[in-house]
């Protein structure tokens, strides 16, 4: 409600409260539709009984309106029809606040409202307010009108000239802020399309192989990173890949994507992991100008199902932390490196080793984001892994992956800022 000082300034309602509430909204909301919902709330909560904000966004016009005592209109479908858009454009052309006296109770009144608010419940709600006028205030940013704010009060109370001046002032700030949110939203749309292209596809579930994975990215705000996991092929003959491209964030994700694609292509020709990584290495060395951009370590494996449900696993480790075979008995076996990291030496040669994965044995691959996770004094290390895996022989893959991820998380402490990309992949033949 308005205070004495409001009245002294010619204000009928509490404009201070409006500014306070707008302060909470503007700047913190980067999704235009939600910003509009919060905006109409702010106006209806403080200085008006009806508010609509229409905005020209990247995908056309959107509008959200609300009448006091009613739900927001336009929540599920913000799109604005052609006639409504024309009416709004007409108003915008004038560039200054327009204070319209509404014709009382005539067909003309309904037509005016219908043009402005389309076939929405807003028309009837607004009509029932008995408002004497509508106030249109253009939202201007960078010298162009990008939207319009429409306000009304329950009759017979009207806006004073002082209030209209104050609201024009407010509209300037709202316009600037919405302009930013539209630009950000458009950029986010581009980023999200690119991000989706970079994200690895979900792992397939082979029917007798229990697969679990974990992937945490260092730069969470971009949600992509340089660690990569992939699994493809048929139930009888699979190629698995886990690795770590140098760096963090988008650049690393692009490198990771290149390696995943290259491995997929190579595996179509010959699934032997040494051949696959050999080819991938040559692609990386020839394609990329600087080894700093293309450096990566990886483990590639070929998993072939045997008659008895066990799997034959042939592994090639290219400069990567050793994969671990956690035997059902709890014993740990480490698979050491078969060659240098990828993308550095043109003539690098890769060997491989073959292991039998019995039913219940688990192959665990991880990146150095796990072993080199930093606690206060030291790194998680292979000891950390061995401790985390103790007692988990024969456990489901997801138990192994989660236990490992959880141990690293608790090792790093409450508010560790020093994060690297980290990935874990575990596979276990189930025999059924």
């Amino acid at each position: 409600m308005s205070t004495l000082s409001d009245a002294g300034r010619g204000y009928r309602r509490d404009h201070e409260a409006l500014l306070a509430q707008l302060g909470e909204v503007l700047g913190s909301v980067h999704r235009p539709t939600r910003a509009l919902e919060l905006l109409v709330d702010a106006f209806v909560d403080t200085v008006a009984d009806f508010a609509q904000v229409a905005l020209r966004g990247g995908q056309g016009w959107i509008a959200v309106g609300r009448t006091a005592g009613h739900q927001v209109v336009g929540v599920d479908d913000h799109a604005v029809g052609r006639r409504r858009a024309e009416a709004i454009r007409d108003l915008l052309a004038r560039r200054t606040a327009e204070h319209w006296v509404l014709p009382p109770d005539t067909p003309e009144r309904i037509e005016v409202l219908g043009n402005l608010f389309g076939a929405t419940p807003l028309v009837e709600q607004l009509d029932s307010l008995d408002a004497v006028s509508l106030l249109h205030v253009p939202l201007v940013a960078r010298g162009r009108a990008l939207g319009i704010l429409t306000l009304a009060r329950r009759g017979p109370e009207d806006f004073t000239p002082e209030e209209i001046g104050a609201l024009e002032d407010v509209a300037g700030r709202v316009g600037t802020s919405l302009d930013v949110s539209v630009v950000v939203a458009d950029n986010r749309h581009v980023a999200s399309v690119l991000r989706t292209a970079l994200l690895p596809p979900p792992l397939p579930s082979a029917h007798d192989l229990d697969v679990a994975s974990y992937n945490r990215v260092a730069q969470e705000d971009v949600t992509v990173g340089g660690d990569f996991i992939d699994l493809h092929g048929t139930d009888e003959d699979l190629t698995m890949l886990l690795g770590d491209a140098v760096g963090k964030g988008v650049a690393a994700a692009v490198a990771a994507k290149r390696i995943r694609s290259s491995v997929r292509t190579a595996a179509l020709v010959d699934r032997s992991p040494d051949r696959v990584l050999d080819l991938t290495n040559r692609v990386l060395v020839t394609e990329v100008t600087s080894p700093i951009e293309s450096f990566a370590t990886a483990v590639c494996g070929r998993l072939r199902r045997l008659e008895d449900g066990a799997y034959d696993v042939t592994l090639t480790n290219a400069g990567h932390p050793p994969p671990i075979i956690l035997r059902r008995s709890g014993r740990l076996e480490y698979v050491e490196s078969h060659g240098p990291a990828l993308g550095v030496f043109e003539d690098a040669e890769y060997g491989s080793s073959t292991h039998r994965l019995e039913i219940g044995d688990i192959l665990v691959c991880y990146t150095d984001g796990i072993t080199e996770a930093r606690g206060r004094a030291d790194m998680f290390g292979e000891d950390g892994i061995a401790n985390a895996l103790a007692g988990l022989g024969g456990a489901p893959s997801s138990a192994v992956v989660e236990r490992l991820a959880m141990s690293v998380s608790s090792f790093m402490g409450v508010d560790s800022l020093d994060r690297d990309d980290a990935a874990i992949l575990a596979v276990r033949p189930t025999g059924v």
Binding site: S28, V72, A399, E402, D415
Partner: protein
């Protein structure tokens, strides 16, 4: 009702960490007409309770508990996939966003709730355990949810749950909190700044229609006690290290290790009790630690050393010091 044979078959599969067999038992029950909520509550959740008790009673190792928990999660994921496959109509409208607090690794309660909500026809986006505020922020932006649901099982997760409350309400999205970390009366939820508290899936279902479409940002927590919580947090890893090494003065036996493993939870509990100015949280932590010690010969001395060491580290924090000195007493608020 679930018959004894199915119940025992399921438990046997959990105890021998056989996710496929456990999944078959659960899926068969659903296929033969047992309502999905019954299977989730009376089979999966009930078995999980038993798993926790067996660990607390020192009959199962941590590793065994993890393996059994993974079985439960596998079962729920499978039931959720089955549900998805047979869903006749595509669920529409703004989704609910289900997250666990950061560092909260107990995913099963959130997964159970997700499945029950989906079964009731809601669209749910499930983000899993240990969700950071950045991940939550991105997901809110991407999915425009009608509410965020935050699950916290451990009282030590309450501090992180508060960050989710702030992240969500700062962009106007209502937050409903739930999980074993909260009191049934909802006092903690209210102090945390949540829009609502739901002690169970059915309570949540009842509250959903009444949730506001948009909320104001949760006001900052500014009590003396909350200020101390924020002051304590940056130094916690140093305190944790001191506590672990003090607990281990008694050797490296399983009992001592089990106690030392509780240090992060203990510290998180202290911070939560301060943040929400709720001594009952500390009292619960105290009885939890006592129960851990009672089931493990030789652990009691390690627990005593922990409390003594912790007292030394909080001497400069009067509220924390009071909290440790007066276990379980309810202070009067003026």
């Amino acid at each position: 009702m679930i018959d004894t044979a199915a119940r025992e078959g399921y438990w046997d599969a959990v105890a021998t960490s056989d996710p496929l067999r456990a999944g078959r038992v659960a899926a068969d029950l659903v296929a033969s007409g047992t309502p999905l909520p019954t299977v989730l509550d009376d089979l999966v959740a009930a078995a999980q309770l038993r798993v926790g008790d067996l660990w607390a009673a020192n009959e199962w190792s941590v590793a065994r508990e993890h393996a059994a928990t993974a079985v439960g999660e596998h079962v729920v994921r499978r039931l959720r996939r089955d549900l998805e496959a047979q869903a006749t109509a595509r669920r529409t409208g703004a989704p609910l966003l289900m997250v666990c607090a950061e560092k909260e690794w107990h995913a099963l309660p959130a997964l159970l709730l997700t499945t029950r909500l989906e079964h009731a026809g809601h669209r749910v986006v499930y983000l899993g355990p240990d969700v950071s505020t950045t991940a939550l922020q991105i997901a809110i932006d991407e999915h425009n949810p009608r509410a965020t649901l935050v699950s916290a099982s451990l009282s030590s997760s309450l501090f992180f749950a508060r960050r989710h409350v702030e992240t969500s309400t700062s962009v106007g999205v209502p937050v409903v909190v739930g999980g074993a970390a909260f009191d049934p009366g909802g006092v903690r939820a209210q102090r945390l700044g949540a829009t609502a508290h739901a002690a169970s899936a059915s309570v949540l279902a009842r509250r959903l229609p009444d949730l506001p479409a948009r909320v104001r940002p949760a006001p900052p927590l500014t009590s003396d006690s909350a200020r101390e919580a924020y002051a304590l947090v940056p130094g916690l890893s140093v305190v944790a290290e001191a506590l672990v090494s003090r607990a281990r003065d008694g050797g490296s036996g399983a009992a001592v290790v089990a106690v030392a493993d509780q240090v992060p939870h203990l510290l998180g509990t202290l911070v939560a009790a301060l943040l929400l100015d709720d001594p009952a949280i500390m009292a619960e932590g105290r009885s939890w630690l006592r129960a851990v010690a009672e089931a493990r010969p030789g652990a009691a001395a390690a627990v005593d050393r922990l409390w003594e060491e912790l007292g030394r580290h909080v001497r400069d924090f009067p509220q924390a010091y009071d909290l440790l000195r007066a276990p379980g007493e309810t202070r009067t608020h003026n």
